[in-house]
């Protein structure tokens, strides 16, 4: 007898109106409700309207889920034609649910069943008929399929019913009843026709888990650490952050405005920050391009600001609904002149929450723009997290001038740490010029070489002094391993799972990860690289942007994995690279 499964990956595939996203929500909620670790990833077409294909993949496990893994255990094909392309992802021994209640004849080419490989199990279920029986309409096919999968893996139906009630109660008793009926019919059909199920190991007594997306966590973290002003222009995949701030900030006497474009948004953010408010914008790659000029102004005028870039595939409009880590270069270098800025990249939803708070602290204390590089996979995926609510703590605040200093206020006073006292204009004694032009310590425009050299050094000195406030890099994995991996952002999850796979093959590796891209605790990176015989740098872009940074900064010669991604990185691919590196070592 095969042992119970302790990890599953389920994918719903359909077109608009099939309830794909709702299915993911119900399944994820049910699994989190019984204490399982869950991660959900939605993939949909860039077109907002129409019958575009969409998929939701829910991966759940009794142990920590770091990535979407490789392959799926069950494909639920709500739309046959669209689902055929997903069949290749079904693991050997996995299953495929297809609708057997097609009204007319279908050809082999368009039949999902005809594409099921012999290594997989096909479950023909009359989704449409059963949905009709439950509600009198075709709606609810997804709930029939949900009931089917609940039986197929012996998951507790009560938790699903609870989630269905949570989602549909507000739509009225009739709708709720129809959905519950659909679920139960799917369950019963499978019980009768496919009694040989594959039980999932459900442990009793686990506490329900909180589900949150990276974008949710980020917005929550920003609001809880004092965000008072948000300005943005809607763009996939960052829009959710604006939606949350639009809802929450007014309750806290804050503001959220939808600007006419990204330039206006960042301008408003700088204005709000200029008058003392913690301010943020959120955009994607195309928006970050537009914001470049104003980010330069923030560097020059030393205005705190947090700019979130939820990266998607590029360049230009690119791939609006696909993930890529291609904006590192523009975040690091996208400005005229010597334009230093802080760049951070969280790798989990927890880090979105805590990291954005750190971003504000750095921005406020060091009077600098901070670019916070999330990405589509991290921002939109939903996962079980443990977020400790922000409690009272000593927040980094702006360095204020002393009363004496206000008698002769020097906005850009030269200091050891490069940080000058900052006061909201209009307060007594706070009269100064702010400009994008090079300026004297008083803020007056000046183009003398000596002044420019002095002020440039001052602006860069902040980056040296802020290092003491930055978290050190984490070293994960086998500390004595000779193969080291350095990476950033959401790729980290797949790397951790890839390392575990390689470990099972007997090959040890370790990972250095830091939310800080620039600046970094360079000594910890140097020590890490010195301890490695081989370094691998995987990332989701074609150029190897992080690898280029590490090479120039630390002089390493890594094995690079450049994945211009449309889907999250595969742990297996990482494992293969680790094994390849090990093979090279043993030669």
């Amino acid at each position: 007898m095969t042992s119970k499964k302790n990890e599953l990956s389920i994918r719903f595939c359909g077109i608009a109106g099939d309830g794909i996203v709702t299915s993911g929500k119900i399944l994820a909620g049910a699994c989190a409700g019984i204490g399982l670790e869950v991660m959900v990833n939605d993939i949909y077409s860039a077109e907002i309207r129409g019958l575009g294909k969409s998929t939701t993949t829910v991966r759940f496990s009794t142990s920590k889920v770091y990535s979407m893994g490789d392959g799926i255990d069950l494909l639920i094909g709500m739309a046959a034609k669209e689902s055929i392309a997903e069949v290749k992802d079904v693991k050997p021994g996995g299953g495929i649910i297809y609708d057997s209640s097609t009204p007319g004849d279908i050809t082999e080419e368009n039949s999902l069943a005809a594409h099921i490989p012999s290594e997989a199990h096909g479950y023909g279920i009359p989704l449409k008929w059963l949905a009709n029986e439950a509600s009198g309409t075709n709606r609810g096919r997804n709930l029939v399929a949900m009931g089917a999968l609940c039986f197929l893996y012996s998951l507790p139906p009560d938790m699903f019913i609870h989630r269905i009630k949570t989602l549909f109660t507000r739509k009225g008793e009739k709708v709720l009843e129809a959905n519950i009926n659909a679920f139960q019919l799917g369950y019963q059909y499978c019980e009768e026709h496919f009694p040989l199920n594959h039980p999932f190991e459900v442990k009793e007594g686990l506490s329900p888990r909180q589900l949150i997306s990276g974008n949710d966590a980020l917005a929550k973290g920003a609001i809880e650490c004092g965000l008072k002003f948000f300005a943005g222009y809607p763009i996939t995949p960052a829009t959710k952050i604006m939606e949350i701030t639009a809802k929450e900030l007014p309750k806290l006497e804050g503001w959220c405005i939808q600007a006419e474009d990204e330039i206006a948004a960042i301008s408003a953010v700088l204005g709000a920050s200029f008058v003392g408010k913690r301010a943020m914008t959120a955009t994607a790659g195309p928006g970050l391009c537009l914001m470049s000029e104003m980010i330069n102004l923030a560097v020059m005028a030393e205005i705190p600001a947090v700019i979130v870039d939820v990266q998607r595939g590029g360049p230009s409009t690119g791939l609006p609904t696909k993930v890529e880590q291609g904006d590192l270069n523009i975040a690091l270098y996208g400005g005229a002149g010597d334009s230093p800025r802080v760049v951070m990249a969280p790798s989990t939803s927890e880090e979105c929450y805590t990291g954005i708070q750190l971003a504000f602290d750095i921005a406020e204390k060091y009077q600098t723009p901070v670019i916070f590089l999330s990405d589509l996979f991290l921002g939109q995926r939903i996962e079980t997290v443990f977020i400790q609510e922000t409690i009272e703590r000593d927040r980094c605040t702006r360095k204020k001038p002393s009363p004496d200093q206000l008698n002769n206020y020097l906005r850009y006073k030269i200091t050891d740490d490069g940080v000058s006292p900052l006061i909201v204009p209009g307060e007594p004694g706070a009269f100064y010029t702010i400009t994008g032009l090079e300026h004297t310590i008083r803020g007056t425009p000046n183009y003398e070489s000596e002044v420019h050299t002095m002020m440039t050094a001052k602006r860069h000195r902040k980056f040296e002094s802020m290092v003491v406030d930055l978290p050190r890099a984490d070293i994960l994995g086998d500390k004595d391993a000779e193969i080291g991996i350095a990476s950033w952002g959401s790729t980290i999850g797949a790397i951790l799972e890839g390392m575990a796979i390689a470990r099972e093959e007997g090959v040890k590796s370790k990972l250095i990860k830091s939310i800080m891209i620039h600046p970094q605790h360079e000594d910890s990176f140097r020590a890490f690289f010195d301890s490695c015989k081989r370094v691998i740098v995987p990332e989701m872009n074609y150029q190897g942007q992080y690898a280029a940074l590490l090479k120039s900064r630390y002089g390493i010669k890594p094995m690079e994995i450049h994945i211009p991604a449309v889907n999250p990185v595969s742990p297996l691919k990482i494992a293969e690279k680790i094994l390849e590196a090990n093979h090279g070592l043993s030669k």
């Binding site: 007898m1 050997p92 609708d99 057997s100 069943a113 005809a114 096909g122 023909g124 040989l196």
Partner: protein
């Protein structure tokens, strides 16, 4: 050329392999109703007793099909055959065209009108799915009732005995002996079973099964009231030929075929436990159930479908061949 084979048992798989050996370029598709790769049905009891693992049951894996270029689709139910259009229709309305079609749907144990109403209380013992489900139940089962005759029941009794279950065996006749049993058992089987501790109830039959709490109440024709944790029962073994309904393919109990395994419809062949073939000795059509026979018929059908001319040799004696695997050997385990 597209060859479609309905059924992934011994006859169907043998036919597919035979076709592939002769015609290396034609498309060969097998449609199996069960959700497993083709397996050795005669070894199911070994699997029940954990003598072998599930993968040891499989005789043709997905990778083998891939290697020889045969498309194997499992879990597919054929609901109609349209000989005029040369296509079949699957349960989900997919239309599959063929140039040559083989029906190799086998046979299954069935229930007569007396037991039919109690079907949901009767444990099936025929397919790999049945055995997998039974294995899950086994730890909580102690007392078993078996009602049915023939080698299949002997095989089941053997398995239950090896699993140390308490067995009540009900038969219609006066003794548990049958003509088909291997010679060394003939005339001694009844006593042999009793020596093993199996309680045999003769000249009776099950007429009612009711569920009560976690067990079953069984009533016999002679008003015996028995209790068991599980009840196995079957009345007969018959060919599966529902898919030919409405086709005009000639049939009696099974599909009638000639010596080349051709049915009455052009380009449609049949082989294995689902067919009846004329036996000159008996002067009648008969069903030659059994694994080796199914393989032999499948090979003949495959050759003829692929353009060769092969004739099925009628066996002179009726032999139920269990692949040379002695039932007696199991008792000595």
């Amino acid at each position: 050329m597209k060859y479609v084979i309905i059924g992934a048992g011994a006859a169907g798989v043998t036919a597919a392999k035979t076709i592939r050996e002769i015609d290396t370029s034609g498309e060969v598709v097998i449609l199996g109703e069960e959700g497993f790769s083709p397996y050795n049905r005669y070894m199911l009891t070994d699997f029940l007793c954990d003598s072998i693992k599930e993968d040891e049951l499989i005789h043709t894996s997905a990778s083998v099909f891939k290697k020889i270029g045969v498309t194997f689709r499992k879990g597919e139910h054929v609901k109609a055959i349209h000989p005029q259009k040369k296509c079949i229709k699957l349960f989900h309305n997919e239309v599959v065209h063929y140039d040559k079609l083989l029906i190799a749907t086998g046979g299954t144990p069935g229930l007569g009108p007396v037991l039919q109403p109690f079907q949901k209380h009767i444990q099936r013992y025929y397919s790999l799915e049945d055995i997998c489900l039974l294995k899950r139940k086994m730890p909580s089962i102690q007392k078993c009732i078996v009602f049915g005759e023939g080698l299949s029941s002997l095989d089941l009794l053997c398995g239950l005995y090896n699993l140390e279950k308490q067995i009540v065996y009900i038969i219609r006749g006066t003794r548990a002996d049958w003509d088909l049993v291997e010679p060394e058992f003939y005339g001694e089987l009844h006593e042999f079973l009793e020596e093993k501790g199996i309680e045999i109830i003769t000249e009776d039959r099950v007429i009612s099964i009711e569920k009560s709490n976690h067990c079953f109440q069984v009533l016999t024709l002679k008003q015996r009231k028995l209790t068991a944790d599980i009840v196995f029962a079957w009345d007969h073994y018959k060919p599966n030929i529902t898919c030919i309904k409405g086709t005009g393919i000639e049939k009696k109990l099974g599909i009638l075929v000639d010596e080349q395994m051709r049915t009455s419809e052009e380009d449609i062949y049949a082989a294995g436990d689902c067919v009846e073939i004329y036996h000159p000795g008996l002067k009648n059509y008969w069903i030659n159930f059994g694994w080796s026979n199914a393989q032999e018929q499948g090979e003949v059908a495959g050759k003829n479908m692929a353009g060769q001319r092969e004739t099925y040799k009628i066996q002179k004696t009726i032999v139920f061949n269990l692949k040379g695997k002695s039932l007696r050997a199991r008792w000595w385990r």
